[in-house]
């Protein structure tokens, strides 16, 4: 990735306690996003992708624990004070949620939501400047200025999401985290929003972490993709390369089971994602993996790098020196009981 990443995450661990034990939602994640770069974080529900997104912004619920490093422009946000995080959120770190209606104040005109946001962080702006900045950002999102004084309920779902994005971008953050930003939208509107996100780097130079369960969205809007399974990033690299030639069996199987217009036959991954209290030993994917070897349940996989900018967490790709003798032999996958099926 580029020389000066906006965000560097190193060996981040996030966990929280439940009556049944502690849930390791994020289990040793490292990643980087450079200026103007878009990283797609894909995973199924329960993979820890949303927790990771929130953890980066310091937005975890009370009681959640964290360890490792989240370096934003060189500053470690893990352990940063509430005060410092609050100062960074907005002008430096932006967040776009899934359901825009629940994130806009229903009793405030759009104008006032922008005024509040700008006044909070840039107190020196005059009224005229606030209006210009707001209208300019809204205009780029295709919201006509005639609607500046309307309330959130007067807008359609897609327009609300555009307003949310404009509200995040009006402060010109260097990093934007978008958590399933199009899930609640219809397909044509989703395509409109994806176009806006894909153009962010040209129009705003923003680094984007796009969290989604939809591989199609990653292919559409992201340069890089990180695939998450059971709290870990199992594969990362340029989206084009990863999709064309996935290295991790989970990535490959996930791509195969995605139903698209090209789907000729249905395919699914046996079993279900594990709970994160007691994940399977060794590689967390081994109970469902068609390529399981002797070493997989016995030893935690070690990340390997390939072709310069790809990495994968799977014994199939080595390192050879760490695989015990005979560890590379394929073994019969335990039959997954129908009861374990999702």
């Amino acid at each position: 990735m580029s020389a000066e990443p906006v965000l560097t995450v190193r060996d981040l661990r996030l966990w929280y306690g439940t009556p049944r034990g502690s849930v390791r939602a994020v289990d040793g994640v490292s990643l980087e996003i450079g200026a103007g770069q878009t990283l797609g974080l894909v995973g199924e529900s329960g993979s820890g992708k949303s927790t990771l997104g929130r953890g980066i912004l310091g937005l975890l619920p009370e009681g959640a624990k964290s360890d490792g490093e989240v370096l934003y422009k060189g500053r470690n946000l893990v352990g940063a004070s509430h005060r410092e995080l609050r100062r960074l959120r907005g002008p430096e770190l932006g967040l776009i949620f899934q359901e825009p209606m629940t994130r806009l104040d229903p009793l405030m005109r759009i104008e006032d939501q922008f005024r509040e946001t700008l006044e909070q962080h840039e107190s020196k702006l005059t009224d005229a400047e606030i209006r210009r900045r707001s209208l300019d950002t809204l205009g780029r999102m295709g919201i006509p200025p005639t609607r500046f004084r309307q309330y959130p309920h007067e807008f359609s779902g897609g327009m609300r999401q555009r307003i949310m994005i404009a509200l995040a971008l009006v402060l010109r953050p260097s990093l934007l985290v978008a958590d399933e930003p199009t899930t609640a939208l219809d397909v044509i509107v989703e395509a409109q929003i994806l176009r806006i996100l894909a153009d962010l780097k040209e129009n705003f130079g923003t680094a984007l972490l796009l969290i989604t369960h939809n591989l199609g969205i990653v292919a559409e809007a992201c340069d890089h993709v990180a695939v998450m399974y059971a709290g870990q990033i199992v594969e990362e690299g340029p989206a084009r390369d990863v999709f064309a030639e996935p290295k991790h069996p989970y990535t490959r199987e996930l791509l195969r089971s995605t139903i698209s217009l090209d789907t000729r036959e249905l395919h699914s991954i046996p079993g279900a994602p594990p709970n994160l209290i007691t994940p399977p030993t060794g590689c967390h994917f081994h109970p469902r993996c068609p390529d399981i070897m002797r070493v997989c349940p016995a030893k935690d996989p070690i990340e390997t790098r390939h072709d310069g900018d790809r990495r994968v967490l799977c014994w199939l790709h080595g390192p050879e020196s760490e695989i015990p003798p005979g560890g590379g032999e394929p073994i019969e996958r335990e039959r997954i009981a129908v009861a374990e099926e999702a």
């Binding site: 199924e44 529900s45 209006r131 210009r132 209208l135 300019d136 809204l138 205009g139 295709g142 919201i143 006509p144 200025p145 005639t146 609607r147 359609s156 779902g157 897609g158 327009m159 219809d186 397909v187 044509i188 509107v189 989703e190 395509a191 409109q192 994806l194 176009r195 369960h213 939809n214 591989l215 199609g216 969205i217 990653v218 292919a219 559409e220 989206a239 084009r240 999709f243 064309a244 199987e253 996930l254 791509l255 089971s257 995605t258 139903i259 698209s260 217009l261 090209d262 789907t263 249905l266 395919h267 699914s268 991954i269 279900a272 994602p273 009981a337 129908v338 009861a339 099926e341 999702a342």
Partner: protein, 438 residues
């Protein structure tokens, strides 16, 4: 559409309107509110043993149509014949009898199961409601049978569990088990996989296909997802704002979509192939308010191929101006907005509009403004619908051609409701093109 002997459900001229309660003042003075035309004059046949997909965006009326067919929502007019009986005329008592034969699976498996009922209780509930089991043992035996059939086995592991103990896919299996326990002939599946993870969707679809084969079921598959519909359905009906805009065999729809809306839907799907990107010329905007649908063709305001006969009107001019202003800088907007004023007359469906200049602007000034907008984007289909622009007595008058309502007409193997495939409409459009007053 001729009703053949194998027709299971025959829908004719079906309308389902929801009345909107007006404001307090409206009710006080006895004004009745408007109506949302969720299903607006739909006719279709569901053949025995087929999977018919009802595909559309939110607000298209697909869910309401599915529910009206089951009698869960009262029809406003029209008929729904199920095995020869018009269910819109049946009493609640007779409908209940019929409901054994038709069942529904909802989108959200978490919300479809009572959290206080065990899986065995929930799945066996229909047997009790319809008084079809003599005793508890009989219910349990039958429940075990269907649970096994939907893949929740060994069944003892699931019978006494609560929904919260099950994964999303397992819950949806339980919901399906409950739907088939009465041996229905028709199953309406309303987005049955859209809340499930990608790696699970295929399993549920496969289960549904297997059940269809084994129990000779007919499916009405309600979805917004054209990719699963392509795989799952024999025929597809594309819905938009309460109307079927295209219907036909799946292969024909996917290979050669006719309606510009179908074309747009197919092109907008994000495919997991980074070499292919979504084209940039997609329809703008969103599904409009069904209480005040556009004149003529409902898709017209968003349609890249709309032309003279599609029903252009005053509200399209407002949208055109707003699009222009969104792109314009603040100063340009302020000046133009001051001249146009609030333009209340552009909020209602009408084929003629009169705009008075504000802040000293004359009708001619407004005409000049429109001309600028036209020069800025001369290919916008909006201009094909403008019949006359004139400035008189300080005001600007704009007339549009009268709307022509599109009809569902055969086009090759499909039927499509679009003027592009209607000879009469094309001829009318050619005539109007010559009659435009500059």
């Amino acid at each position: 559409m001729s009703a053949s002997a194998e027709t299971l459900v025959s829908v004719r001229g079906l309308k389902t309107y929801y009345s909107i309660r007006g404001s307090f003042l409206d009710r006080l003075v006895g004004r009745t509110g408007a109506a949302v035309r969720a299903v607006d004059d739909i006719s279709l046949d569901l053949r025995k043993g087929e999977v018919l997909g009802l595909v559309g965006e939110s607000g298209s009326g697909k869910t309401t149509l599915g529910r009206t067919i089951l009698g869960l929502v009262p029809a406003t007019s029209g008929t729904v014949e199920f095995e020869g009986k018009d269910i819109t005329k049946l009493s609640e008592h007779d409908l209940r009898e019929l409901r054994r034969r038709m069942q529904i699976v909802f989108q959200d498996p978490h919300a479809s199961l009572n959290p206080a009922m065990t899986i065995a209780q929930a799945v066996g509930h229909p047997l009790q409601i319809h008084g079809l089991a003599q005793d508890k043992e009989q219910v349990r035996a039958r429940v075990a049978e269907v649970l096994d059939r939907v893949g929740l086995s060994p069944v003892e592991q699931f019978m006494d569990k609560y929904p919260s103990d099950l994964s999303g896919g397992q819950k949806q299996r339980a919901v399906i088990a409950r739907a088939i326990i009465l041996n229905p002939v028709l199953l309406v599946a309303d987005e049955p996989v859209s809340m499930l993870d990608m790696s699970v969707r295929a399993k549920i679809l496969e289960l549904m296909l297997a059940l269809k084969r084994d129990f000779d079921l007919t499916y009405l598959y309600v979805t917004h997802d054209l990719a699963t519909a392509k795989f799952f359905c024999d025929r597809i009906a594309i819905m938009y704002l309460g109307r079927i805009v295209e219907i036909g065999p799946s292969e024909a729809i996917y290979e050669d979509p006719k309606h510009p809306y179908t074309q747009a839907l197919l092109r907008a799907i994000p495919e997991p192939d980074p070499r292919r990107t979504i084209p940039r010329d997609l329809p703008r905007g969103e599904v409009p308010d069904a209480a005040k649908p556009p004149l003529g063709c409902h898709f017209r305001p968003r349609c890249p191929r709309a032309f003279e006969v599609c029903g252009w009107e005053a509200r399209d001019l407002k949208e055109l101006l707003e699009r222009r202003w969104a792109e314009m800088g603040e100063e340009g907007f302020d000046a133009e907005r001051a001249a146009v004023g609030p333009a209340e007359s552009l909020n209602e469906p009408a084929t003629t509009a009169k705009l008075h200049g504000h802040g000293g602007a004359s009708g001619a000034d407004l005409a000049g403004l429109l001309e600028k907008a036209r020069t800025g984007d001369p290919d916008d289909p909006f201009w094909t619908g403008v019949k006359r622009i004139a400035s008189e007595n300080g005001a600007l008058e704009v007339d549009w051609f009268d709307p022509v309502d599109p009809r569902l007409l055969p086009a090759g193997p499909v039927e499509v409701e679009c003027h592009l495939y209607d000879e009469a409409a094309l001829a009318e459009a050619a005539e109007r093109r010559g009659a435009r007053i500059p």
